[in-house]
């Protein structure tokens, strides 16, 4: 039941819309099947599967909105959920920011988000994928802890104004932390794909094991400002926080890093190095995503940062109507242009610096400057005269992605990374490795 075809979803939604007696109705029908396996101490710890389909109905009378949901789909249940939403709408307080549903929309081609092989993952596949990671670790005095999560799902929307949208997708997320048995070394790797055939847990695990062994017996170096080479996962974490803060309303209200002293916003202004180009594109082959956003707006290719300049902010439909501008579909992926340099090339080109595998526990310190703090983790190395000299103890940083992107030295090759929230949950990003000067490390951590 969990994965309905476009036609099956449409049939149910047409019935739902047909039952409406309110001023209008919008219905979302979504479903997913998921599975996961978790291991630690070189042994499987937990695993499970789940499945769910859910219909949420939003009815409105004037600016009063009621919503109700159900997971049964016979005609009587469908009518019941519509009546319940209508009843709730009459009782609801008026929402002055309510926007009527969108009229019929034209969506671009469906991106290749659903891959049959991923949809067919079995518990046996998951157990084998874990074994391919655990067995090599246990042969090398290393302890593996990892997590594999896969899912297939669909989402669909129909409203009384004539809009209908449907998308289905699959995803698989894999992360593993390899720790040397003496507790002095740790390595990590992450993989995120729509197509499980691209995932090789043995290959990924080998990289994490290599990092665990190479990071043993790290030396302490003084905190301060360093040139850093950020692997794509590290760069993406900080970058993502900036991209999720590009809300237009916040900027207009004066409570965003995009708000300007004295009033107004930084839209159209250069805020970072001119080599920085960040955009969203649902049809990118590496990070395909749905061709419509949750509110039914068609997604398209759209610049966020163009040549270092703020090209677009994110307007919800209400705020766009207040500002006489177009609403922005929430991006389903984020892509930053990279360069040709490999990590090795960047290391060769560095006199003194720090190679960062990943960051951890990043939290906002000041939303006004986008200052964040967090730590390096699972493989941090000192670079001297073009070579990795030795592993170093982890650092705490206090840095803003805006300052970081102003201190850009070199852009490296892109890699697909998960944006968080499980397979497909937060969308995926295509982010390059990058070399940054004067990155602020403020203290040392003894953590391995």
């Amino acid at each position: 039941m969990a994965i309905l075809s476009k036609e099956e979803a449409k049939k149910i939604l047409e019935k739902v819309v047909g039952f409406s007696k309110a001023d209008g109705i919008e219905a979302n029908l979504n479903g997913n099947d998921g599975g996961n396996i978790r291991y630690a101490r070189n042994s499987v710890s937990t695993s499970g599967e789940d499945s769910n389909v859910n219909l949420t109905v939003q009815s409105y009378v004037g600016k009063k909105v009621g919503s109700a949901s159900i997971n049964e789909f016979d005609d009587a249940s469908l009518e019941k959920v519509v009546r319940r939403a209508e009843e709730l709408s009459r009782l609801a307080p008026e929402n002055p920011e309510f926007m009527e549903p969108l009229p019929q929309q034209t969506y671009g081609a469906e991106a290749k988000t659903f891959i049959e092989s991923t949809a067919k993952i079995t518990p046996e596949y998951r157990a084998q994928a874990a074994a391919d990671s655990i067995i090599p670790a246990s042969k090398k005095e290393i302890t593996a802890a990892g997590f594999l999560e896969d899912g297939r799902g669909f989402s669909s929307l129909m409203n009384s104004k004539g809009a209908f949208a449907y998308n289905k997708s699959t995803g698989v997320d894999f992360t593993v932390t390899m720790r040397s048995n003496d507790g002095t070394g740790s390595g990590w790797v992450a993989r995120n794909f729509n197509d499980v055939n691209k995932l090789n847990t043995a290959e990924a695990s080998a990289i994490a094991m290599e990092k665990a062994l190479r990071s043993r017996d790290a030396k302490a170096i003084e905190p301060g400002k360093y040139t850093v080479i950020l692997e794509p996962n590290a760069a993406a974490d900080l970058l993502g926080l900036m991209l999720f803060s590009m809300n237009a309303r916040q900027a207009d209200e004066g409570r965003s890093f995009l708000s300007k002293k004295g009033g107004g916003t930084k839209l159209g202004e250069k805020i970072v190095d001119e080599r920085v180009n960040i955009y969203t594109d649902p049809w990118n082959e590496e990070v395909p995503t749905g061709n419509w956003a949750g509110n039914g707006l068609p997604r398209k290719k759209m610049d966020l940062i163009k040549n270092g300049t703020v090209a677009n902010m994110i307007y919800d439909r209400y705020w766009a109507s207040q500002k006489n501008t177009e609403a922005t579909p929430f991006p389903g992926n984020r892509i930053m242009d990279g360069g040709n340099a490999s990590i090795e090339d960047m290391i060769k080109d560095t006199k003194k610096g720090v190679l960062v595998t990943r960051f951890w526990y990043i939290r906002a310190v000041d939303p006004q400057t986008l200052l964040y703090t967090g730590l390096t983790r699972d493989g941090t190395f000192y670079i001297e005269n073009g070579k990795i000299k030795h592993p170093i103890k982890n650092f705490r940083f206090n840095e803003s992605p805006v300052i970081m992107l102003n201190n850009l030295e070199t852009l490296g090759k892109q890699m697909r990374v998960a944006s968080g929230g499980g397979p497909g949950g937060g969308g995926s990003s295509l982010i390059p490795a990058m070399k940054i000067r004067d990155f602020t490390f403020s203290s040392l951590s003894d953590a391995v």
Binding site: A40, S47, T177, R179, R255, S256, R396, S442, S445
Partner: protein, 546 residues
């Protein structure tokens, strides 16, 4: 795709607050929420289907959780109601041990047939995984309790309070803040009711009704001229109480140093919103801190988070053993430190208890999610590490025979595992008030309410911000500071604890949505303390220009 842990009801606005929200939840009306779905006898009958099915398939242990999880959120901003959402998530989670390995499956089909199929899936998963199992599961014995029940001792069920009353309260609080010059206000009322039925193959049938309440707001002040903005969060605490928490009784108000009003067992939201607007203005005008070493005086609405991150998490045995190595991390409190019986975690006055029984706390239940009766126990005694937090399949590893009773799952659809109990710093034994503490500090900062927080994966190095920062000079509060964060090593920090106010100042605060595990699950946990002093802590200045 599998499940969303959080939904941001307020979109991406500055005041957006992340809320735990099961992906399986249905939106329902309040009348439905107040109507019981199944009685205890029906739940027992259904649970027995799983227990018998699993036994027939060769499982050596089974537990069943039939759960109904109700949430209500009322959200507003300024003069507008943004949303009233009622959700229900109802289903069954079945956990088995087969071939010495755990298997888990869940379904929202709570019928004998649905339960039978779900049990079969759980056993099949256990068997598939047992192929690579290295350590067979060993469960500590727990008594069979028969048919028992437990209920949060609430006075007023928040779900029975009309939505209009909640909307009126939130809008009245917003109005007060706006009247005092606030630029923006977001406010929320968040109610949780977990109706959970647990049954195990060992003969326990436990029916529990758990309530939690959290009123909250964020008052923002924007100064367009200087381009600055500051946000003052509510001084409320999420609590394991009913709607009586909103009574704002006079005896629960505390006059703190610096002219602030703090709250104990009930909360006055309107009064707090009024103060928030005034303080947000002062936060903008405050002096930027001079970095350096300060004696920190940490108020319970702030200190709870430092306790949570630097004591609560590193004393979780699953982290110590490596079960969380790939996500939350491990712990610096390794077994050898505990075995030595003399590892000085903190100074002699530091006594820290884990607890699931404190009334009004978020962690308070009668039995945990694997049927173990809850209790309290010592973690740090006179500064020394004496125990961890552990559940049935872990305690054998530390040579103990009894689970600590801190197993929890956020929903029927997620597998239960070790979660943090309430972890609280015990009040000082000497008579001491916060005002007396201020009088003894030459160069210090008094920090109120939790702010920014970050700690490494073994819980050594941390950095915390706050909301209000008052400079203390020669025994007196001088004025407000801004751009303050402190960094320390957990072990050095707790050994620098020189004073703790007495029990008159002891209060609870806590986290409504502490995340852990893969897939991530949310846990609600309280932390109590009295105001405490830490000498010579490193303070940094977080001001920047972009």
């Amino acid at each position: 795709m599998k499940r969303r842990d959080f939904i941001q009801l307020a979109g991406l606005s500055a005041g957006a607050m992340a809320l735990p929200f099961s992906g399986f939840a249905q939106e329902v009306d309040i009348a439905h929420m107040l109507t019981p779905l199944l009685d205890t006898a029906q739940k027992k009958q259904l649970a027995d289907v799983a227990l018998n099915t699993a036994k027939g398939l060769g499982a050596s242990y089974t537990d069943v959780r039939i759960g109904r999880y109700l949430n209500q959120f009322v959200t507003t901003r300024e003069k507008k109601v943004q949303g009233v959402t009622n959700t229900e998530s109802f289903g069954v989670g079945i956990r088995v041990i087969a071939n010495g390995t755990w298997g888990f499956a869940a379904s929202n089909n709570v019928t004998p047939d649905g339960i039978k199929k779900t049990t079969e899936r759980a056993v099949a998963i256990a068997k598939a995984n047992s192929k690579f199992q290295k350590e067979p599961v060993k469960l500590a014995a727990t008594p069979s309790y028969g048919e028992v029940n437990w209920k949060t001792p609430i006075v007023k069920n928040g779900f029975e309070v009309p939505v209009k009353d909640k909307v009126d309260l939130l809008l009245a609080a917003n109005a007060k803040a706006l009247e005092k010059g606030a630029s923006f206000v977001n406010s929320i009322m968040f109610l949780v009711n977990e109706q959970k039925y647990f049954a195990s193959s060992e003969g326990s049938y436990i029916d529990q009704d758990v309530h939690r309440t959290w009123p909250n707001f964020q008052v923002s002040m924007v100064d367009r001229q200087s381009g600055q903005f500051k946000t003052r969060a509510a001084f409320s605490a999420p609590v394991g109480m009913g709607y009586e928490y909103l009574d704002g009784k006079a005896e629960d108000k505390i006059q703190g140093p610096g002219g602030i009003i703090l709250y104990n067992k009930s909360y006055d939201m309107i009064e707090d919103a009024t103060m928030a607007a005034e303080q947000a203005k002062q936060m903008i005008e405050a002096k930027s801190v001079e970095p350096g070493k300060y004696d920190l005086m940490l108020e319970p609405s702030h200190l709870w988070l430092t306790i949570h991150e630097s004591v609560g998490h590193p004393t979780e045995l699953d982290r110590v053993l490596g079960y969380e190595a790939n996500f939350a991390g491990t712990s610096f409190l390794t077994l050898d430190k505990w075995q030595s019986k003399k590892f000085k975690f903190g100074s002699d006055i530091v006594n820290i208890m884990a607890d699931k029984t404190q009334i009004g706390s978020l962690g308070n239940v009668g039995y945990d999610d694997e049927g173990v009766k809850c209790k309290s126990w010592e973690l740090i005694k006179d500064g020394v590490l004496v125990n961890y937090q552990a559940i049935r399949d872990q305690v054998n590893i530390i040579g103990q025979k009894e689970s600590h009773g801190c197993c929890y799952s956020q929903s029927w659809s997620d597998v239960q595992f070790q979660r943090m109990a309430n972890v609280s710093l015990q009040p000082g034994k000497q008579s001491l008030t916060p005002d007396q503490m201020v009088a003894g500090i030459e160069k210090g900062i008094y920090i109120v309410k939790d702010g920014s927080f970050s700690i490494d994966q073994q819980r050594y190095n941390f950095q915390f911000g706050g909301v209000l920062f008052f400079e203390i000079k020669n025994g007196k509060i001088e004025g407000m500071l801004k751009d303050v964060a402190y960094q320390a090593n957990t072990n050095e920090f707790w050994n620098s604890c020189t004073q703790i106010c007495d029990e008159r100042d002891y209060r609870l605060n806590g986290a409504f949505n502490d995340g852990k595990g893969q897939p991530s699950q949310s846990n609600a946990v309280s932390h109590g303390s009295a105001t405490a002093r830490f000498n010579g802590v490193n303070v940094i200045n977080t001001g920047r220009t972009i």
